[in-house]
């Protein structure tokens, strides 16, 4: 029974509505005052991840919007589809959104996610899933932010290790960044995104 039902389901599937560009004028539609706050200010252990989006000519992209999605520090999600059950961690939203400024910079305030179990064994190293939308792109670009101080976990991560070229792998790992003395929120990591060119970031087919 299940085989024919399964086939029928696939054949009757509806076509996804196509993606279109976010365009240049998304700011009033998508910018939220609390967009960059994956966790509220003052959350213990919170840090910023900041970076610049560059185009193929190495110029900053001032009309991009970056979104992040991640597990909480225990590696859990507040989501019914997680077979381990939904768990809420403090005021953790898990989601961040930051439109780039005129210098192409984005920034989110977050905490480091825990590792994730892989069905069948192993773990995914702590990481953020990232969506990039910008004028000029018709589809969403998907990438990941890994942490430079998680070397051991990174070495065992099934996604990072699926990329053979170490230079390409390195495009997914943030750099440690120090905040300047005048900044009140600690800057934790820098993660630049290169849409194209010599340093092109690894993007994923999801």
């Amino acid at each position: 029974m299940s085989e024919s039902q399964t086939t029928g389901l696939q054949l009757s599937g509806l076509q996804t509505t196509p993606s279109q560009t976010v365009g240049p004028f998304f700011r009033h539609g998508l910018e939220w005052e609390d967009g960059p706050y994956v966790v509220p200010e003052g959350t213990p252990g919170a840090f910023r991840i900041e970076g610049t989006v560059f185009d193929g000519a190495g110029l900053p992209v001032p009309d991009a919007v970056i979104e992040t999605w991640q597990a909480d520090p225990d590696g859990r999600f507040d989501h019914p589809d997680d077979p381990r059950g939904a768990v809420r961690w403090k005021d953790f939203r898990g989601f961040g959104r930051s439109a780039t400024d005129p210098d192409g910079r984005y920034s989110v305030l977050t905490v480091k996610p825990g590792p994730l179990p892989v069905p069948g064994g192993g773990q995914e190293a702590p990481h953020l899933n990232v969506s990039v939308f910008c004028r000029g792109m018709l589809v969403r670009l998907v990438t990941r932010i890994y942490f430079p101080d998680e070397e051991e976990a990174n070495t065992a991560d099934p996604v990072l290790t699926s990329i053979d070229d170490p230079a390409r792998q390195a495009t997914l790992v943030a750099e440690i960044a120090e905040s300047t003395p005048t900044e009140t929120i600690p800057l934790g990591y820098r993660f630049d995104i290169h849409l194209q060119g010599e340093h092109e970031t690894v993007f994923f087919d999801l």
């Binding site: 993606s19 004028f25 539609g29 999801l206």
Partner: protein
């Protein structure tokens, strides 16, 4: 030993525009050149932000409100359903919409189109779908606007839509167009969708049933988010 796995979402690449689409000029310097790396769908991909009521204010589903007076232009009501690829309603999900005013001008510093701003129109809305996946909002028919992509280039009238569904995998930003727009043929963004059926699915239909007498024209537009693979009840461990 067989393990139970969470469901994943089936591929939908043919519905979407290609990564590289040089007819759209600003795509050329921004589209990645290197092949994408396959990202298996695991816990972080089948989950996603569940943004609901907290993100929506009382008048967010009526873009004609919230100002001192009424905006200029043809009042319209856009409604439809948000479904997944198996026709199941996506309930309680956030839609964000933004658009130009009736003259084709956005409330945005970078919009240099010499058409008037409307003091009574901002052009931003937010809606949550009901338990049947239905959404509805009232707005003004947006105008077409010129851009510099090619000689005498005009964008067909459209409303920008952003949706989350229930998973990172389902995230979608798209545009809704209007039936019968004469500008479709010359628009490289609309035509970046190569499958004619998928292209047609971006076009809202005029609907007399949702047209409110002596008030507003009705348009119907359903949105389909990526569908799930059949549930893998038992599967051998094959992660290597």
């Amino acid at each position: 030993m067989p393990t139970s796995r969470p469901h994943t979402y089936r591929p939908d690449t043919p519905s979407h525009p290609p990564v590289s689409w040089p007819d759209y000029k600003s795509n050329v310097g921004r589209a990645p050149h290197k092949p994408f790396v396959l990202l298996p769908q695991r816990l972080g991909e089948i989950t996603g932000p569940l943004l609901g009521e907290g993100r929506v204010g009382p008048n967010d589903n009526d873009l004609t409100l919230g100002h001192d007076g009424e905006p200029q232009g043809q009042r319209i009501i856009v409604s439809g359903r948000v479904l997944d690829g198996d026709g199941r309603p996506v309930a309680g999900t956030l839609l964000e919409v933004w658009q130009a005013n009736a003259a084709g001008r956005y409330r945005h510093d970078a919009d240099r189109h010499p058409a008037p701003l409307d003091p009574n129109f901002t052009g931003v809305g937010r809606i949550i779908t009901d338990s049947d996946g239905r959404y509805s909002f009232t707005t003004i028919q947006p105008g077409a606007y010129p851009w510099r992509n090619h000689d005498n280039a005009w964008r067909p009238a459209h409303i920008h839509f952003s949706l989350f569904g229930t998973a990172f995998t389902q995230r979608l930003i798209t545009q809704m167009y209007f039936e019968g727009d004469p500008l479709f043929a010359q628009d490289p963004i609309f035509n970046s969708v190569r499958d004619p059926k998928a292209r047609e699915a971006m076009v809202a239909k005029f609907d007399l049933a949702t047209t409110v007498p002596e008030w507003a024209l009705g348009y119907q537009w359903d949105i389909v988010l990526r569908g799930k693979n059949p549930t893998p009840l038992e599967e051998e461990d094959d992660d290597e």
